[in-house]
Amino acid sequence: MATQSSRLAARLTLAPSVIVLFIWMIVPLALTIWFSFRIYRLLSPDRTGWAGFRNYVWFVNSPDFWLAISNTLLLVGGVLAITIVFGVLIALLIDQPVWGQGPLRILVISPFFVMPPVAASIWENLFMHPQNGMLASLALGVGLQPILFLENYPMSSVIFIVSWEWLPFATLILLTALQSLSSEQIEAAEMDGAGALSRFRYIVLPHLTRAITVVILIQTIFLLGIFGEIFTTTQGGPGSASTTLPYMIYKQAVIAKDIGRAAAGGIIAVILANIVAFFLMRSMGKNLDV
């Protein structure tokens, strides 16, 4: 693209897709911002008009708000930690030559293909259920009281279920990264006297940083919006113990039917996502440089 005219041609031909993408993004955002400053309640349609910042003020002052923010961050952080630690370990394991490697890998990947509400239902009803669940009968089998997972440890349970869903994704990305590590480097380290742990710490882990960064960035995008698993299992409860920002917005929009407040919550969620993205890119962006 050396000359003026070819650069212009490039811009012209790119323009339609850029414009479509821009509209695709800006229209919902603009509408949400618009609604967030309006009085817009489905239960009292006659009351309309400008709300100023009242929707925002209500949202931020509502008793669940800070809990929801911290739950959201806890969910994102917890799932990231679990999926990366176990993703690395499982990737290391299934990278070994074992009998039945192909089917084994498919099995490891398969949770990713289960839809979120289905995954949550499976865990809720087949495993964590205090009467019918497998974990309950295991506990009874050894003479213990069944643990009421969703009642007593709602956030941990949700984090666990979401981790189960996302672990395959992390494992897959980390496995491919692991396979691109040259075996000569490992052998060189072996000759240099590095034991298995040192090889992991000084050779394998640095090699995986870029893949880990990719996993963190992609998962964060999806985890900030986790909703289905909470809706299916705890409904944000008991009380508000497992309410996250997306769930709070859902309650305003669908249960309280207050579109203005829900939109304000949506904008707050966008701001939160940008703050998170800013810190992520600042701390890890350089890992993506070639």
């Binding site: 040259s182 000569e184 480097q185 052998e187 060189a188 380290a189 072996e190 000759m191 240099d192 006297g193 590095a194 034991g195 040192s198 000084y202 050779i203 640095p206 090699h207 940083t209």
Partner: protein, 331 residues
């Protein structure tokens, strides 16, 4: 110290016997070169010595101690890989210091040894760069630096120069030879470049299909190849091999004569010159010799023979190699 002895070392990958059984002694301080065609098992043999591959049977002793079952790190050998195998996320300094760090050497001592190695290898200006920011020759030096700081009993090189261009190869070849003269450590060097083998080795081991064809000093192999394979492999351009009536006249199934041992001008061999390659110092002529096939003949650099000329030649009688019908050299 670095005396390495292999006793009936065998290596099979599954069904395939890559190395059917090798006996070899390498003396302390020797520069040994493994040569052979691609796929003959040179790298495998080197990796067996290094401990990166397990032997199927046989024993490997280093300085009298049986090392067959020991992991690579405990054998006290250092290896330089063909791909250099530098650690890409570490600076040159950290790369060279890595074996020391693993050995628990103090940071001051590490730095001292890194500086010493950098001085020997002219790497002083690059210590803070990453391997990705170095040229091929510089990377090769870093890989050697990483090997020498450990003060190993022996160095193992697997085709270390094959990724370099011709000029750099010549200079690195000399650097490695000088390094050997200064350190006087045993070195085992794998290559399929026979010029490298001839110029660097104290002892050449010619391998073919996992078997040792001949072991000897470069000049021994050049003067008296034990068989047709070695005769054809050592020497450049290759030895001319002649069968049929002319061979029978010398009482052999095959005779061999090197291009540099054929005199032009007189003699009872006649032929028409095909291609002539002028290298400056020498000229190599391809001659269609009557009843003998195509011969390569070395002539003087300034020779004025052209393609199409008819010439007479004679082999130097004491330089004729005779082989029996199994390819073994006849005395």
């Amino acid at each position: 110290m670095g005396k390495i002895t292999l006793k009936s070392v065998r290596k099979a990958f599954g069904e395939v016997d890559v190395i059917p059984g090798i006996d070899l002694g390498i003396e302390d301080g020797e520069f040994v070169v493994f040569v052979g065609p691609s796929g003959c098992g040179k790298s495998t043999l080197l990796r067996l010595i290094a401990g990166l591959e397990d032997v199927t049977s046989g024993t490997i002793t280093i300085d009298g101690k049986d090392m067959t079952e020991l992991p690579p790190a405990q054998r006290g050998l250092a290896m330089v890989f063909q791909s250099y195998a530098l650690y890409p996320h570490m600076s040159v300094r950290k790369n060279i210091a890595f074996p020391l760090k693993m050995a628990g050497v103090s940071p001051e001592e590490q730095e001292r040894k890194v500086q010493a190695a950098a001085k020997v290898l002219n790497l002083g200006d690059y210590l803070d760069r990453r391997p990705g920011q170095l040229s091929g020759g510089q990377r090769q030096r870093v890989a050697i630096g990483r090997a020498i700081v450990r003060e190993p009993k022996a160095f193992l090189f697997d085709e270390p120069l094959s990724n370099l261009d011709a000029a750099l190869r010549v200079s690195m070849r000399q650097e490695i030879s000088e390094l050997h003269q200064n350190l006087k450590t045993t070195m085992i060097y794998v290559t399929h470049d026979q010029v490298e083998a001839m110029t660097m080795a104290d002892k050449i081991v010619v391998l073919n299909a996992g078997r040792i064809e001949q072991v000897g000093s470069p000049m021994e192999l050049y003067r008296s190849p034990a068989n047709l394979f070695v005769a054809g492999f050592i020497g450049s351009p290759k030895m001319n091999l002649i069968e049929g009536a002319e061979a029978a006249r010398h009482g052999a199934a095959t005779i061999g004569i090197r291009p540099e041992h054929i005199d032009i001008g007189r003699g009872d061999w006649h032929g028409v010159v095909g291609l002539s390659e002028h290298l400056g110092s020498d000229t190599f002529l391809k001659v269609m010799a009557d009843g003998l096939g195509t011969l390569t003949v070395r002539a003087d650099g300034e020779v004025s023979i052209k393609a199409g000329d008819r010439i007479r030649m004679s082999p130097q009688p004491d330089k004729i190699h005779r082989f029996d019908k199994d390819g073994k050299a006849l005395a």
